[in-house]
Amino acid sequence: MLIVDAIKGRFDAAFARWIERRSPVAASVRLGLGNIYVFPTLHGLVFGAMVLITFVTGVNYQNSLVLLTSFFLAVVFIVSILAAFANLSGLIISARDSEDCFSGDMAVFHLVFSDAQGAGRHRIFAQCHQAEARGFDCVGKETQLSLARQTHRRGRLPMGRVCIDTRYPLGLVRAWSWIQLHAEVVVYPRPVQGERMAIAGGDDSDSPGQARGEGDVAGLREFAQGDSIRRISWKHFASKGALYVKDRENPGESETWLSLDAYAANSLELRLANLCYDIVQMDQSGRPFGVLLHSKVLAPGTGDAHRKQALRALADYQG
């Protein structure tokens, strides 16, 4: 078994290199003669055997119509090779920006299939590593397809090789292509609540824990058109029946500094996870916060862009 595995490993590696050479990473890939492969499916081989048997029947019984049938079926087979090829040929595949996600969530890649011809394509499947293959039909000029993939660790998850394949029209042949696109999902650490030790640097008069403890309407104002839903205090909605938002301009609120070194956990990943949790919490509270990641310092701020910047810094943090 070891030998088999070794050979298989070698083969896989060689195959990966070959694919790498044939279809280099690109912003968009156009399918054509150079990158579409066609081969009969198992069903196609059964069909071929049936055609052969029909042919032999025709020859042995000297029956012209049986021969004609076998010729017709053989031609159908050949034409379905062409049709499968044509079903992929000319498609332009590009990747659209994908949203960041937390480790453990599903990373979602968006592929855009443009078909300038607009004539329609049938039952195309896309598969990206272990992500599930999804069949879809290109009907208009542009079709978007999302491939979800389970994430396990923080960092940047490239989309990797994607296999585009089709068995149109009769399922007798499979046309496929391996493509690689510039597309990655930034994976944040998984937020885990952690224990903070001493606060390193900055004004630490307020901690996220206290912020979470707010009980009354202080620091809140009534919801007005244009306020972010994220700022709604659902707790107050539940008890008072009216919508309140956490007031950004809450006087007396000061900046908070979150530091990677402030957590007690031993492993770096866990500390990053703790920090991630607090960043999410701070962002929800709406108060400005800064992040200290050893050499990297993020000035205090609020808002979605700030949050994204902070979380991406965690995702990209190298030891």
Binding site: H43, Y61, N63, S64, V66, S89, D137, G171
Partner: protein, 672 residues
């Protein structure tokens, strides 16, 4: 991936439809119990679909297989014919249907169904059957398409447009392959026993047989003569069988005529150069003999021509066959010498009056040709009457006919004449076949019907060899010159037992026209499709290919077929490219981009035009002016108001081209 998808809904119904249309034509010909079994399986599968019953378990499946096997055994015991083989296949396919659960299971079933459809052509080759079977095969393929086509639109017939487009693409390729694919003989021999009854003239022959045949307006065969070689109607004697043994009741052919061993060899054949030829398209008879004019020669090995000029096939005719024969019109006799025993044989008893009639003349010294003339004169003068309703002659066929009743048809006259000749020591034999024929609508071929069946006499004299004599012509000349219908006109017995033969209504011009036109279509079908073989292939292609050899055919097929496939690939690529054409200015930019990329200045993913051009200008200061100008114009073309873009592009293109040339020139000059 797609493998474990449950087969249901529309896909299932199309598959069941394919099953039904593929099996139905076979069920018509198979025992009712097997039809019931197939129907039950179809119903079972539907019940599963409707949730009434689950898929059968292992035990139930085994029980069903055993029951089917028992049914098969009860129906056929140890019979092995093509029908039992098809029947077995039908049962197998029906059982397989119950197992079809996932989409992937469909493929094998559909393959089985398509093959079943193809085998139906072994039994039926008519145009209507072919259309039906083709439809069934198309439905099978369409059921496959259902598994792989866009599921978004189109209702029950979704994908039908694409399907027919695909099939239309196939048509020219199929034609090329069909016409050019080299035809060769069977890889191994089969005896196809279709279990159909034999038709036409049989090898044991009682006078009544021809009366029975004369009631059928079915086609026996068709003959097309080479240009200008159509002989006079009185010469249309199609020889099939020689009956030389008479037991007092039945005429038979003796064993040596039945065997194919007496085939003409090359030394006995005249040179065929310049001889006229004719092509016979014979309907399946389940017998081994064909029909030909006297003195015909075949160039093929199957059928072969015997020493006595008889056509013999290697296997019983189970489907229409086409064969071509050369013939010598000017030679009336068959040259082979007589067989001393069988050509003089008479039954030990019976025909005493006839023997006496012969002895009287022999005693008077009348012999040879004179005697034959006497016999013919006897038929012409006596009160013989041609009728398809002869009286019964229970005691002695020969004497009662010749001297008492004197009413009968061709086989009575021919039989009586052979008896009289042999009684006088002249070798003679009864020849069975057809006489006459009906010209087709355009006169290009003759249609010979079963009611043209005829019997006549061949007698051998040392000075003439075998020569044909037809006593019927003496009694009823119109039978020979105008055909049976005219000969029995007064009697009204023509096709009297057939209620609705189109032939009976020939009085109506429209009916006659329709009948002959349909026959012409059918003949074309049989000649060019059903009967298409290496001979037809040679006829059709010799003007184009020179020598029609397997090599030339294969070459022509590959060139034509390959050309078509290449054309399709190009079309697919061209269609894929269509609409993708970028505007000229962008193509110009891409050209520039490629040139820069070659020099290691690739455009980063997501890098804007401006940033990229800026980088390039920094790397090639000499080109920076042209680059900046180029960028400015490009941005103007593409980012100003959408409305006038094509016009702006047209105006700016010369300047853009000039700048790109400049950039490329200075890049080439500079080496950073």
């Amino acid at each position: 991936m797609t493998d474990k998808v449950l087969l249901q809904g529309q896909k299932l119904y199309w598959m069941l439809g394919a099953f039904a249309v593929s099996l139905l034509p076979h069920l018509v010909a198979l025992p009712g119990s097997i039809a019931l079994l197939v129907g039950a399986m179809l119903l079972y599968r539907l019940m599963i679909q409707w949730g009434k019953v689950p898929f059968p378990g292992k035990v139930l499946k085994a029980v069903m297989v055993l029951m089917s096997a028992a049914l098969f055994f009860l129906e056929y015991r140890y019979l092995y014919t093509i029908e039992t083989a098809v029947s077995f296949f039908v049962i197998f396919t029906a059982l397989k249907l119950i197992e079809v659960r996932f989409e992937r299971d469909c493929y094998l079933l559909i393959c089985l169904l398509i093959y079943l459809n193809a085998t139906k052509f072994l039994f039926e080759q008519g145009i209507l059957w072919t259309m039906g079977q083709s439809g069934a095969i198309l439905i099978c393929l369409f059921a496959l398409l259902q598994l792989n086509v866009a599921s978004t639109s189109g209702g029950a017939f979704r994908g039908i447009a694409q399907f027919f487009r695909l099939m239309l693409i196939c048509v020219p390729l199929v034609l090329v392959v069909f016409v050019f694919f080299p035809r060769f003989g069977p890889l191994w021999q089969f005896n196809l026993d279709t279990g159909k009854p034999q038709t036409g003239i049989t090898d044991a022959f009682s006078p009544g047989d021809i009366a029975e045949l004369s009631q059928s307006s079915a086609r026996a065969f068709r003959v097309a003569f080479s240009a200008g070689s159509l002989p006079d109607r009185s010469q249309w004697y199609w020889r099939g069988l020689i009956f030389d043994e008479f037991d007092g009741r039945l005429w038979r052919q003796s064993w040596h005529l039945g065997s194919t061993a007496l085939r003409l060899d090359g030394s006995q054949m005249p040179s065929l150069d310049g001889l006229p030829f004719y092509t016979v398209m014979i309907e399946p008879t389940q017998q081994r003999w064909g029909f030909a004019l006297a003195n015909s020669y075949a160039t093929s090995a199957d059928p072969s021509v015997s020493r006595d000029g008889l056509i013999r096939f290697q296997n019983p005719l189970d489907q229409p066959r086409q064969y071509r024969l050369f013939w010598q019109p000017e030679v009336p006799e068959v040259r082979a010498s007589p067989h001393n025993v069988s050509d003089l044989q008479l039954p030990p008893r019976g025909g005493e009056m006839a023997r006496q009639w012969a002895q009287e003349r022999v005693a008077r010294g009348i012999k040879g040709m004179d005697y034959i003339k006497d016999v013919m004169a006897f038929f012409a003068s006596e009160s013989f009457f041609y009728t398809l309703r002869p009286p019964r002659m229970p005691r002695d066929v020969i004497d009662e006919f010749l001297f008492e009743q004197q009413r009968g048809f061709c086989s009575h006259y021919a039989g009586g004449m052979v008896f009289l000749l042999r009684a006088a020591g002249i070798p003679a034999r009864l020849v069975g076949g057809y006489q006459g024929g009906e010209p087709s609508a355009d006169g290009s071929y003759l249609i010979v019907h079963q009611y043209d069946a005829h019997a006549w006499v061949e007698a051998w004299l040392p000075e003439t060899g075998w020569r044909r004599y037809d006593p019927t012509a003496e009694v009823a000349p119109s039978r020979i010159l105008d055909g049976l219908e005219r000969a029995v006109q007064s009697e009204g017995s023509f096709l009297e037992n057939t209620l609705f033969a189109a032939r009976k209504f020939d009085g109506f011009a429209a009916v006659r026209w329709l009948r002959l036109t349909l026959d012409e279509i059918n003949y074309g079908w049989q000649r060019w499709v059903v009967g298409y073989n290496s001979e037809t292939q040679t006829d059709l292609l010799k003007d184009y290919l020179g020598e029609v050899s397997a090599k030339n055919l294969a070459f022509a097929m590959l060139v034509l077929g390959g050309g078509m496939v290449a054309g399709m690939i190009l079309a697919a690529l061209w269609l894929g490219r269509q609409g993708k054409t970028l505007s000229p200015s962008l193509r110009l930019f891409l050209r520039l981009e490629r040139q820069l990329a070659k020099r290691g200045l690739g455009r980063e993913p997501g890098e804007t035009l401006r940033a990229f051009v800026g980088r390039a200008a920094a790397a090639y200061p000499g080109a920076s002016e042209a680059l900046t100008q180029f960028l400015k114009r490009l941005e103007f073309v593409h980012y100003a108001a959408v409305k006038d873009r094509p016009l702006r592009e047209k105006q700016e293109m010369p300047a853009l081209r000039k700048q790109v040339r400049e950039v490329l020139r200075s890049i080439a000059a500079e080496r950073p």
